[in-house]
């Protein structure tokens, strides 16, 4: 038996290590170990007021605070019988897509792409590929600005609350930013062409791809849960009842199974399940790869993320023109926030975070105190699938030197874009 251990893997959100072993040539074991401490977010919310949840849960993760904020809000609005207006929904969707773009741009270009070209330090990446790095930074900055203008701040949104938005996002700023959208789209396409010219390791392992699905759009804000292995679309509340959260000894990250099987969520799962919903340029870009869907090579999650960046810029374009029209109508200001009184109730919500399905559920008492809270994050969901991929990958690497083996293993781990902060919460 030959063990492989990689401690403190850098360039991921949160700290993790890898432990694996190759047992008799074709059979391997693999485990991802988190180095983040348990923060017990669900537990500390007990007995606290409902309006604290979107603020506190955004502190689960510094890279995707917006999707935690929005998913908490959506679940709590269900518990409180609050119906957000169309105006609020459009702004929330732009905010969420901004979150996807900046998270994907950072991950695909600065965390994963260096693996494909053998660069360890991003300061060297900036030196070797200055033009392309600049493009990736410009696309990311554009999205960070969207989040700042609508959310009130780049990290940990303030303006997005239960009922809607406290203040109207500065329209002059938003308008100026949106003038750049065509330019940003072209930059995103250039980044895709540049990154996707790299070869990814050969790998195939069919699994159960799970994502939200709706008829109207490439699902991200709403939808039922779609399971690719049995081709079924199930209501979120039913699907979540079937999902098992497993606590393993000495493991701060729980594991998730559905019908006893590992599942895959995130950009590649979404493209496999919802390709038809992608916008035109995004579709065209993926098609350049010449890959027949479903794609069973998890390394392609990197390219899938860049395709989604293109999709998101196109989607923001149409949402923004809808928003402009809404803004012209009288009474617009009053529709930015819905007023309500606390009442007892239960609520749950699923959204597509950059890394896949994120689930929040709450139960409130009459005074609006939180009686129950459960959060399942995308990394918690896909970590078993990543471990199973690694178990299949390791025997394929038998002939490589130890150093090269570790490089490929780290490339796969980072391709998943694990967020250990979210997974440990």
């Amino acid at each position: 038996m030959k063990t492989i251990q990689i401690n403190h893997i850098a360039k991921t959100e949160g700290h993790l290590s890898f432990v694996g072993a190759l047992i008799d040539g074709d059979f391997a074991q693999a485990r991802i170990e988190t180095e983040e401490g348990a923060r017990l977010i669900e537990g500390i919310l007990l007995g606290r007021k409902y309006y604290e949840a979107p603020i506190i849960t955004s502190r689960i993760c510094g890279i995707c605070p917006i999707v935690h904020n929005l998913t908490a809000i959506k679940a709590l609005e269900q518990a409180l019988n609050v119906r957000a207006t169309k105006e609020v929904l459009v702004l929330r969707k732009i905010l969420l897509l901004g979150q996807w773009i900046h998270s994907h741009a950072l991950h695909a270009f600065f965390l994963s792409f260096p693996d494909l070209v053998g660069i360890n330090n991003n300061l060297n990446l900036l030196k070797k590929y200055p033009k392309q790095s600049e493009l990736a930074l410009q696309v990311r900055d554009w999205a960070v600005e969207i989040c700042r203008i609508i959310g009130g701040r780049t990290v940990h949104p303030i303006n997005s609350v239960i009922g809607g938005f406290n203040v109207e996002p500065d329209f002059t700023e938003l308008e100026k930013l949106m003038e750049q959208r065509e330019e940003i789209l072209q930059k995103a396409i250039k980044i895709f062409d540049f990154i996707s010219a790299r070869r990814l390791p050969k790998f195939q392992r069919p699994t159960n791809y799970v994502s939200l699905k709706t008829k109207n759009e490439y699902a991200y804000y709403d939808g039922d849960m779609f399971f690719s292995d049995n081709d079924q679309t199930v209501k979120v509340e039913t699907a979540l009842r079937e999902i098992e959260e497993i606590i393993l000894p000495y493991e701060r990250v729980k594991r998730v199974r559905h019908d006893g099987r590992a599942i895959m969520v995130g950009a590649l799962a979404r493209i496999n399940n919802n390709f038809d919903g992608l916008n035109a340029n995004a579709k065209k870009s993926w098609e350049k790869l010449g890959i027949i869907l479903p794609c069973y090579n998890s390394f392609y999650n990197i390219f899938a993320q860049v395709v989604e960046i293109i999709h998101c810029v196109e989607e923001i374009e149409s949402l923004y023109s809808e928003y402009q029209k809404m803004r012209e109508k009288s009474g617009f200001d009053s529709r930015l926030k819905v007023n309500f009184e606390p009442n007892p109730g239960k609520g749950f919500a699923a959204m597509e975070a950059p890394r896949g399905i994120l689930y929040h559920e709450y139960e409130l008492d009459r005074a609006g105190n939180i009686l129950h809270c459960n959060i399942i994050s995308p990394t918690t969901i896909f970590i078993s699938n990543l471990e199973q991929d690694l178990e299949q990958l390791i025997p394929q690497l038998k002939k490589l030197s130890d150093v090269k083996k570790k490089v490929v293993i780290k490339t796969l781990i980072r391709a998943y874009d694990p967020c250990i902060s979210c997974a440990t919460h």
């Binding site: 360039k11 605070p65 330090n121």
Partner: protein, 248 residues
């Protein structure tokens, strides 16, 4: 004569890493820093191998020491660094995760993990309860522009300081609507400024993520808040970022 560049490192304990992202969101201004100092450790940017005898002129530490490994790392960084700066609410005053301390921490743990599974359930402490801290840069997340001013000060050998006005003053200068007067809970009058009153810009009352301002007039604020809120409500807000612990 060319002087040796200062060597700086960034270290995360258990956290959301939002402070590191806030710094990255400085964009080119952050990368330009590398012309003046040598960034030797920033785990989101590089995968260098760091030797334990490596030295840093300045180490920035964010997050909460919540595992054995976190505590070991914190002590090690203290030995490696001439100057240690705690950044963000978690490292400064305990931050959001510190909320655990106001309840039965065993009960909370069992709610999340159902029983003894060999996972640590340490008290959530600010880093100065474990090692000596030279400076604090508060906020949840840290204000990146304040970080820049701070580090440029250190580069030219100035002993940096944080503005000691309350948030309330920053809010008034900017002409934001007073949420306290509207009857909401706002800790702006007692909280250390330097955040540009960013929450008030979005009409969110201040919950004190930056800790107490010098000479904070706590009793005056409490008297004002009691007109419209119960003590229980006031205490709950004082708990969120850990201000409650600083009141004695």
């Amino acid at each position: 004569m060319k002087t040796k560049k200062m060597e700086i490192g960034f270290f995360s304990l258990t956290s959301c890493e939002g402070c590191l992202f806030a710094l990255l969101d400085l964009k080119e201004k952050f990368f330009a820093l590398n012309k003046k100092v040598r960034i030797k450790s920033f785990r989101l940017l590089e995968e260098g191998i760091h030797m334990s005898e490596e030295k840093f002129d300045i180490a920035f530490v964010e997050g909460s020491p919540l595992t054995e490994q976190n505590i070991e790392q914190l002590k090690k960084v203290r030995k490696q660094a001439k100057t240690l700066i705690a950044i963000g609410s978690c490292a400064h005053i305990g931050g959001i995760y510190h909320l655990k301390q106001y309840s039965d921490k065993e009960k909370i743990f069992n709610y999340v993990y159902s029983g003894n599974v060999g996972v640590e359930n340490f008290d959530v402490l600010p880093v100065n309860k474990i090692v000596k801290v030279d400076y604090f840069l508060p906020g949840c997340p840290v204000n990146a522009n304040e970080f820049l001013q701070f580090i440029h000060g250190l580069i030219i050998g100035k002993s940096p300081s944080i503005e000691q006005n309350p948030v309330c003053r920053e809010c008034q200068i900017r002409g934001y609507e007073c949420v306290l007067q509207k009857g909401e809970i706002c800790l702006g009058p007692i909280t250390q400024a330097g955040c540009d009153a960013v929450c008030l810009k979005s009409k969110q009352g201040c919950w004190g993520c930056r800790g107490l301002a010098e000479d904070a007039q706590i009793e005056n604020l409490v008297k004002e808040l009691r007109k419209k809120h119960t003590d229980h409500e006031i205490i709950k807000v004082l708990e969120v970022f850990g201000i409650k612990d600083l009141l004695n």
